[in-house]
Symmetry: C2
Subunit: 229 residues, 2 copies
């Protein structure tokens, strides 16, 4: 088993059969000990965060598979904090695709002249480049195409999948009385046929979720979502 990549919150290995294995770590993004899903630095270590993230990821990926939404997910081993996935490659050096239902975070920092904090947004999709040195800059569809990061067809797939996936997550949260403000997804091309699929994970660290107006930390979200599952 060969280590392919060491990430901020997980490591990636290649298995003998060509599939990839994701190993979830207990590191959480944030700054100065405060969790922030938009941060580029590992700000704290939360005991059990890896397994909690994986449990929630498995929960959502199984919902998505049941809904015939393409993902890289194969299976998960909670005890070992690992997930087996179909091999896929990222677009360029990696993109983050954000779906927004309320104006908070970087959207508000950029467009605060025109948007009120918490203002409803209609599943607004935007893309940022994964580039720590340049603070993950936002990038338009036309710039993505011009820089050959993805094609117009791939962008259309990515936008459509983002809205479908985010709606599934939003609906699941809603069943527990939790409101999804925004969510950050990653996509890739399947190695076998180039199909655009959801990759990485879907856990508390990928989203901002609120209950009765109060922000819910990732570990708490996992408990609320999986109680009774």
């Amino acid at each position: 088993m060969k280590r392919m990549y060491t990430g901020k919150t997980k490591d990636v290995y290649e298995l003998e059969n060509g599939d990839y294995l994701l190993k979830f770590k207990d590191d959480v993004t944030g700054e100065n000990g405060v969790f922030d899903p938009g941060a580029n630095t590992v700000g704290l270590v939360m005991e059990g965060a890896g397994r909690a993230g994986l449990r929630l990821t498995r929960f959502f990926f199984e919902k998505l598979n049941a809904a015939n939404i393409p993902t890289h997910y194969i299976d998960a081993d909670i005890e070992k904090a690992t997930m087996t996935v179909a091999p896929a490659s990222v677009f360029g050096k990696g993109l983050e695709v954000i779906c927004r239902y309320r104006a908070v975070g970087s959207f508000l920092r950029r467009y605060g002249l025109y948007a009120q904090e918490g203002q409803p947004l209609d599943a607004f999709v935007e893309v940022t480049l994964k580039d720590d040195a340049r603070q993950d800059p936002p990038i338009s569809k036309s710039a993505l195409e011009m820089l050959h990061i993805l094609s117009a067809e791939e962008y259309a797939d990515l936008e459509k999948l983002t809205k479908q996936i985010s709606q599934v997550v939003k609906d699941e949260l809603s069943k527990k009385g939790i409101e999804l403000y925004d969510i950050k997804l990653e996509f890739g091309r399947l190695k076998k046929d180039g199909q655009v699929v959801l990759i990485d994970e879907i856990s508390g660290g990928n989203m901002r979720a609120y209950k009765d107006g109060v922000y819910i930390e990732p570990l708490e979200l996992e408990k609320l979502m999986l109680a009774g599952e």
Copy 2:
């Protein structure tokens, strides 16, 4: 004559007949005494910069009018450093529309992971919000529409006009052996019928121009462009 607006490089007045009068100032954007067309601060005062900017603006606006490209231009008085224009209102609180032929400036600062400095770009159009406090953030077509800053039809007009206008400027510079790297334009809606037209100015302060690989300062550009006119 009523002062409507005090800008960094010009002031705007309303005339008795409803037209607007732009008064060009000798202030130039930049930082620490160095000219930078992308800067938000007035970095230096250049004697004669206002009149030079106006002469070049008149030159380009008259070319555009001759080519039937809609602008707010009516006429100019070089001695008084004033330009009379048809009244128009900006989109939202003002946009800057950039057309890029080479990767430099803020494009490179954002997308340097994917672009080489000076790499040719095919008249790539992007929009930024005029918002000093938020460092003029880039904004996509979909975000502009969602925030009701402009409509899809207006965006299409603005993009088409940007490419047409930039090509006219590029061609004029090219006749003098000068290469246009990028240019920053402003658009508005004509008060009388809402038509999308070019507003503000087109001078050295709006563009990056190079001759034999050497950057040309705004005042020098005006001299080179208007020699013999």
